[in-house]
C-alpha cells in the first residue's frame, strides 16, 4: 500500500501539485487516494460478509418470503380451469346459473384436469372456503364426464352428475376464488370468510383463531409476568452478592439455560403427572387428599409452569446485567437522606432497573408467543398456542395457505415486538450466557 501515507499538512514540498493539492507517492491527489483505499476497505468488508449473507438469504430469508407469498397465492383455480375462469369473468351471480359457454369451457377444463388427476386437489382447495366442494369435484370424475355427450346441451348433463352444478353456489365460489391472489387465507385466520357477496364473519361456533390468538397472548403475558416476579429477586441477589458466591449461584441459572428444551419439558411431564413427584409430595405432606390429586398437566397450568421454568433464565440474565451497573452507593445515599428501605428501593433502585425489565420482558414474551414444543407436550387442548394450530395445518389438515397466513400474522406480531426490543436494548447488545 503506497497510497494514503501523507499526514496532515506535513507532506514534503515535492508532494504538492502545482495547484497546491496534496499528492500521494504515486502522484494522485491524496483525497482520491484515501477515497480509493476506503472504497477498497469497504469492498473487502462486504466480501467477507457476502458468503454468509448469501447463505442466510437462500436458506432462511427465501423460505420466509415463500411463506408470505403462499399466504396470498391462489394459482390453483386459474391453472386447473383456465377457460372457465375467463368465461366466468363476465358472469354475474345475480343473473342465475351461468349459460352454456361456461359449461362448455368447464367441460373442456375438467376433461384435462381429470386426465391429469388434479381435479380432486382443486376440490380440496375450494373445500377450505365452502364445505361440500371437495365431494362435488370428486363426484365429477373422469368416468362420469366420459358419459357426457358434447353434442347435446351440457348444463342438464352436469345436473345429472350432481344437482349442485345446476345451482349458483359452486359457480359463485369458483368466480370468487378465480383470482391468482386472494385475501381468503388471511380472512380465515381472522375468523372471516370471503363469499360471493363480500367479506363475512364465520358462525360464532366456528370462530377459533381470534380466540386462539388472544389465548396465546394472554398465556404469554402470564408467563412473562411470572418470570418477572420470580426473576427480579434472584437477579437482585446475584447482582448484590460478592462475586464468588454470585458465580456459584449463577450456575443454577445457567445450567437450566443450557439444558435441552426436551429434557426440561420431559422433566415437567414426569413431575406434574397425577402419579408424579409433585402430587406425591403434596399428598405426603397432607396438603392434598390422595383421592383428589391435582390436575397439573394437559391444561393451561401445565403450560404456564413449564414455560415459566424454561424462560426464566432469559429474564434473569438481562435483569442481572442491568442491575450490575447500578451502583449500590445510590441506595445507601438514599437511606442516609432519610428514605426507608421501601422508598429507597422504589424511588431510587427500581427506576434504574426498568431497562432490564423491559429487555427481559420483551425477550421472554417474544420467545413465549412462538413456542410450539412445550404447549404441545404439556398443554393438552386448552393450553395450546397459535403455533400448534400452524403445525396442525401443515402436517394434518394440509391447508398450507391458512398455515402460511397464520404464520405471517404471528411473524408480523413478533417483528413489531422485535422492533420495540431494538429501540429499547439494541440488536448489538444481545448478550449470551
Amino acid at each position: 500500500m503506497a497510497d494514503a501515507t501523507a499526514g496532515d499538512g506535513i507532506a514534503p514540498e515535492e508532494n504538492r501539485s502545482a495547484s497546491g493539492l496534496l499528492l500521494s507517492a504515486d502522484g494522485t491527489p491524496l483525497k482520491n487516494s484515501i477515497a480509493r483505499a476506503e472504497r477498497r476497505a469497504r469492498i473487502r468488508a462486504f466480501l467477507l460478509i457476502l458468503p454468509l449473507l448469501a447463505f442466510v438469504m437462500v436458506s432462511f430469508i427465501a423460505p420466509i418470503a415463500d411463506m408470505l407469498f403462499r399466504s396470498v397465492e391462489n394459482d390453483i383455480v386459474a391453472d386447473t380451469l383456465p377457460r372457465t375462469v375467463v368465461e366466468l369473468q363476465d358472469w354475474d351471480p345475480a343473473s342465475g346459473v351461468p349459460g352454456e359457454p361456461v359449461f362448455e369451457a368447464f367441460y373442456a377444463d375438467m376433461l384435462d384436469a381429470t386426465e391429469a388427476k388434479i381435479h380432486t386437489r382443486l376440490g380440496s382447495r375450494l373445500n377450505y372456503e365452502e364445505s361440500g366442494m371437495s365431494s362435488l369435484f370428486r363426484k365429477t370424475n373422469a368416468r362420469r364426464l366420459g358419459r357426457i355427450d358434447d353434442t347435446q346441451p351440457l348444463a342438464p348433463q352436469f345436473e345429472k352428475i350432481d344437482e349442485d352444478w345446476a345451482t349458483v353456489e359452486p359457480w359463485a365460489i369458483l368466480k370468487t376464488f378465480s383470482a391468482r391472489y386472494t385475501p381468503g387465507y388471511f380472512l380465515q385466520a381472522a375468523d372471516m370468510k370471503l363469499t360471493p357477496e363480500g367479506v363475512e364473519s364465520v358462525d360464532e361456533t366456528q370462530q377459533i383463531y381470534i380466540k386462539l390468538f388472544w389465548r396465546t397472548i394472554i398465556l404469554s403475558l402470564t408467563i412473562t409476568c411470572s418470570c418477572l416476579l420470580l426473576g427480579y429477586p434472584v437477579a437482585w441477589l446475584l447482582a448484590n452478592l460478592p462475586m464468588k458466591s454470585a458465580n456459584i449461584l449463577m450456575i443454577l441459572v445457567l445450567l437450566p439455560f443450557w439444558t435441552s428444551l426436551l429434557v426440561r419439558t420431559s422433566a415437567w411431564k414426569v413431575l406434574l403427572q397425577e402419579q408424579g413427584v409433585i402430587n406425591d409430595i403434596l399428598v405426603w405432606i397432607g396438603l392434598v387428599n390422595d383421592g383428589a390429586r391435582l390436575v397439573l398437566i394437559n391444561n393451561q397450568i401445565g403450560t404456564v409452569i413449564a414455560m415459566t421454568h424454561i424462560l426464566l433464565p432469559f429474564m434473569i440474565l438481562p435483569l442481572y446485567s442491568v442491575m450490575k451497573t447500578i451502583p449500590p452507593s445510590y441506595l445507601r445515599a438514599a437511606k442516609s437522606m432519610g428514605a426507608n428501605d421501601w422508598v429507597a428501593f422504589w424511588r431510587v433502585y427500581f427506576p434504574q432497573s426498568i431497562p432490564g425489565i423491559g429487555a427481559g420482558a420483551i425477550l421472554v414474551f417474544i420467545l413465549a408467543i412462538g413456542y410450539y414444543i412445550t404447549p404441545e407436550l404439556v398443554g393438552g387442548t386448552s393450553g395450546t398456542f397459535i403455533s400448534n394450530r400452524i403445525a396442525f395445518h401443515i402436517s394434518t389438515s394440509l391447508n398450507w395457505g391458512l398455515a402460511a397466513a397464520l404464520g405471517s400474522l404471528l411473524l408480523i406480531l413478533v417483528m413489531g415486538l422485535y422492533w420495540l426490543y431494538d429501540k429499547i436494548v439494541g440488536i448489538d447488545n444481545v448478550k449470551l450466557g
Binding site: L53, F60, P233, L262, S266, P313, Y418
Partner: protein, 283 residues
C-alpha cells in the same frame, strides 16, 4: 449486601426471608433437572420414587434404562443422526459466521444495520415460522426430507450465535496487531490464521458451542424438514413424550444434562481465558 449490625428486627426478618424466597426460586430452577437423574435409575418403569428408592435399597436402582438406550436401534440411530447433523451444521455456521463477523466489525461494512438485522433474524423469528417457511420452500427445491436440507436449516439457525459471540470478542481486538503483521510482510491469509485467529479463538469456539447446541437440541424444524432417515435425538424424545412415554427418556435426559454441564464448564473456561487475553481480570 451484608446485614448491617444496626439493622432493626423487621429488617432482619426481611433479610432472611428474602434469601429464603430466592433460595426457593433457585430450587424451582434446578429441581426439575436434578430430580430426573435419580429417577432415571429406577428399577421399575415408574416416573416417581418407589418406596424402595426412598429407603435406598440397592435392588430398587438399576441401569436398565441406560442399557435400553444403548441397545435399542431407534435410540441409537437417532443418536448417530444427531451426531452427524450437529457437527456439519456447526462447521458451516462457524466458518461463514466468523468471516462475516470480521467483516462486520471492521467498521467499514456498508449497510451494517440492515445486514445485521438479516443475519440475526433466524434467532428472532419463532421456530414454528422458520419451520413452516423452510418446509414450503425446501419441498419446492427438493431438499425436504434430506440430510443436506436439515444441515442447511440448522446451519442457518446457528449463525446468529456465532455472529454475536465473535463480534463481541472482536470488540476487544487490537487492530494495530494485524497492521503490524502486514507491516512485517505477512499476507492477509497468514495474518488471519497466525495473529487474529488465535486471539479471537475463545469467541469462535463459544459461538461454535452455541451453534452446536442449537442444532443438537433443535426439534421443530427437523420435525417438518426431516424424514424418518433424519430422526434426531430430540425428535425421538418428542415422539416418545407424545405417544408412549418410556423411562428410557429419563436416561437420555440425564445423559443430555451431563452434556450441558460439560458445555457450560467449557464455556466458563473459555470466557476466563478470553478475559485474561484481553488483560482483564477474571471475575
Amino acid at each position: 449486601m451484608a446485614l448491617q449490625p444496626y439493622a432493626s428486627p423487621v429488617q432482619r426478618v426481611w433479610y432472611y426471608s428474602f434469601r429464603v424466597i430466592c433460595g426457593l426460586i433457585l430450587f424451582f430452577l434446578i429441581f426439575p433437572i436434578m430430580v430426573i437423574i435419580p429417577l432415571s435409575f429406577n428399577a421399575l418403569p415408574y416416573f416417581t420414587f418407589t418406596p424402595g428408592m426412598l429407603a435406598f435399597e440397592a435392588s430398587a436402582y438399576s441401569t436398565e434404562h441406560y442399557r435400553d438406550f444403548f441397545t435399542n436401534s431407534d435410540w441409537q440411530s437417532a443418536m448417530w443422526n444427531s451426531l452427524s447433523i450437529a457437527p456439519a451444521a456447526t462447521l458451516v455456521s462457524v466458518s461463514l459466521g466468523t468471516l462475516a463477523a470480521i467483516g462486520l466489525s471492521s467498521g467499514k461494512a456498508p449497510f451494517r444495520g440492515a445486514i445485521m438485522a438479516i443475519l440475526i433474524s433466524p434467532m428472532i423469528v419463532p421456530l414454528i415460522i422458520s419451520a413452516a417457511g423452510m418446509y414450503f420452500f425446501y419441498s419446492r427445491v427438493g431438499l425436504q426430507g434430506t440430510w443436506f436440507g436439515v444441515v442447511l436449516a440448522h446451519a442457518a439457525l446457528g449463525t446468529p450465535f456465532v455472529i454475536i459471540t465473535v463480534t463481541a470478542t472482536l470488540v476487544g481486538f487490537d487492530r494495530s496487531l494485524t497492521r503490524a503483521a502486514a507491516n512485517m510482510g505477512a499476507g492477509p491469509v497468514r495474518t488471519f490464521f497466525k495473529v487474529q485467529m488465535p486471539l479471537i479463538l475463545p469467541g469462535v469456539i463459544s459461538g461454535g458451542l452455541f451453534a452446536f447446541i442449537t442444532s443438537f437440541d433443535e426439534v421443530v424444524v427437523v420435525l417438518f424438514l426431516g424424514s424418518a432417515g433424519q430422526k434426531t435425538l430430540p425428535w425421538q424424545m418428542f415422539t416418545g413424550l407424545r405417544e408412549q412415554i418410556s423411562p428410557t427418556i429419563l436416561a437420555v435426559a440425564t445423559l443430555l444434562v451431563t452434556l450441558s454441564i460439560i458445555l457450560l464448564a467449557t464455556l466458563e473456561i473459555l470466557r476466563r481465558r478470553s478475559e485474561r487475553l484481553r488483560g482483564m481480570s477474571p471475575g
